[in-house]
Symmetry: C2
Subunit: 306 residues, 2 copies
DNA sequence: TATATTCATAAGTAAAACCTTATGATTTTC
DNA sequence: GAAAATCATAAGGTTTTACTTATGAATATA
């Protein structure tokens, strides 16, 4: 008669088995009674055995019917459960979030993620902190969904979105001669001093070099470090001046362990970008995360303007 | 696009997920590649989310895809398991066997069932021993599949099969005056003595009364008991003579604790019948049990004739 | 015994499911 | 850069599905 069991058959069967009646099942399913009879008959055809036996008005399950009853109940429930899980996925309340960020934004990103996680406890998180080079590699090999970085490379197929200012400032230890000047310090006088900078492949370093090139200058850096924390400490110790994203030194500025120097042309106006591969459809969760970040930054700016 | 998941979709999806390739899946399923694409696309339409994402040649599961993979694997396996169970049912190796027997055949039936159970260990057994009245009630209320009893009632819609002789014999305590006579004892001399019989609703009792009625006699029983064991003991104690199925006294005759009396017209030739309700389809297991019983009885007779 | 209830069956029909061939777009691989 | 591989899409056709209405048969109910 037929070749395969269908879910329709199981659904109708389950209702009949529950209701112990074809007619009642047909009403529950908003069908006519013959429609139910047919589904059951087809199922019996597939199985090769009767599933019900009539005793007068009463219908009873055969052994095979009992077997199919278990099957129908479990299968249909599993489908219902999966459907619910899928709805959670679709609404972004559950899922995998793969995020990679530049070293400089790590702390900001961590804070954002923690707050996002409170709203979406079911998410499974994959978080990578690395420098610009590493981020590009992750994007190319598709190991991450969203990246937060400085100016993204032009040669890759990317979708980018500028979402947050990233001012680069010059920092000095408290009491440095260039601090607290009335006027902005010139680049000339600035470069009398030693500098501690990030490695050449870092975004911060590249931003500085591009700015200097535009001014007709170049940089002979005295020290290189691959960690913002190390730079901050070194500057605080008096090893030299630093140029860093202001986001990395907010707490030190408040505590007074570091000071800003007002230099002509500074702060360098850079931005953070949300980046993803072009054409890559983000999971609903990732989409929500993006929306969340943008919203948060917006709120932050608004609060500053008040 | 669609309304419902189909098992076809899940089957195709599972293959694609396993093979990590549409083309390989299509070969494994003996389909063209577009056929696979379509099934997946329909499934995605039902789900409302993409299940795979392409990264160059490679295809990867999305979060939703992972969810559906679990679903497809579990559901399809459950169906396969159920199919196997159904095959066991169909071959009669598994199932419920509901059997009811007359008190008199209980020991014979027990032996048969035990041996049948050795061959079919997966069966679940429902065994009732009761008298004729009880058996008829069980049949009417459909609480049993097969009944073993004496002559079945005519007024019920039954399918019956005579399968085993059931001779009724007269028993006496050893040393009774009617024992070891040269000639068969006449009914006249027999009825000088007291009798111990089963209750009037029992098959054995009815058989005796019908025989006597044909001979123009009737019975004034001195004692009634509803258990064959009680009757045997009472006869052995000398309380009176008994008329019982020979099957109930085989061991006592061997031991010599009871003796047969050769009476004109005895043994009464009755039979045991296999009985089921007309039109009621037996489960494969019950069918096998019927076949088994008939075969065993056949073997038993053959061995007697050798 | 008439009536109501329950399931089975038949005929008819609109929709869908399922697959094929042909072809296109991308991406790897050589 | 050409060839090969992979998935997507379109068009077309046959089969199956899933109902419906109408009606019949068996059984319970009053």
């Amino acid at each position: 008669m037929n070749i395969n069991i269908t879910l329709r058959q199981l659904k109708v069967f389950r209702e009949v088995a529950r209701q112990q009646s074809f007619t009642r099942a047909s009403k529950a399913l908003f069908l006519t009674q013959p429609a139910v009879s047919m589904q059951i008959k087809q199922l019996e055809g597939v199985i090769g055995m009767p599933l019900f036996e009539k005793q007068g008005k009463q219908i009873n399950l055969t052994d095979a019917g009992e077997e199919i009853k278990v099957l129908s109940e479990t299968i249909l429930q599993q489908i219902e459960e999966t459907t619910q899980n899928l709805e959670l996925l679709a609404s972004g309340q559950q899922g995998k979030l793969r995020l990679a960020v530049a070293t400089t934004v790590a702390s900001v990103a961590t804070r954002l993620m923690a707050r996002f996680n409170e709203r979406h406890p079911a998410l499974s998180l994959h978080f990578i902190v690395t420098n610009r080079e590493g981020l590009i590699d992750l994007l190319e090999t598709n190991q991450t969904d969203i990246v937060i970085m400085g100016k993204p490379p032009e040669d890759l197929q990317l979708e980018t979105q500028e979402f947050m200012p990233n001012p680069l400032v010059v920092i000095a230890p408290p009491g440095h001669t260039l601090c607290n000047r009335q006027k902005a310090v010139s680049l000339n006088s600035l470069f009398q001093h030693n500098f501690i900078l990030r490695e050449p492949s870092s975004g911060t370093r590249r931003a500085i070099e591009r700015f200097l090139a535009a001014e007709g200058r170049s940089l002979e850096s005295s020290m290189e470090m691959n960690s913002n924390d190390a730079i901050k400490q070194s500057v605080a110790e008096g090893l030299g001046l630093g140029i860093v994203s202001i986001h990395t030194v907010t707490s030190e500025l408040e505590q007074g362990s570091l000071k800003l120097i007002d230099v002509t042309g500074f702060p360098l106006r850079r931005s953070w970008y949300l980046v993803q591969r072009k054409g890559r459809r983000l999971s609903p969760l990732s989409e929500r995360f993006k929306a969340y970040i943008i919203e948060e930054v917006q709120n932050f700016h608004n609060s500053l303007q008040v």
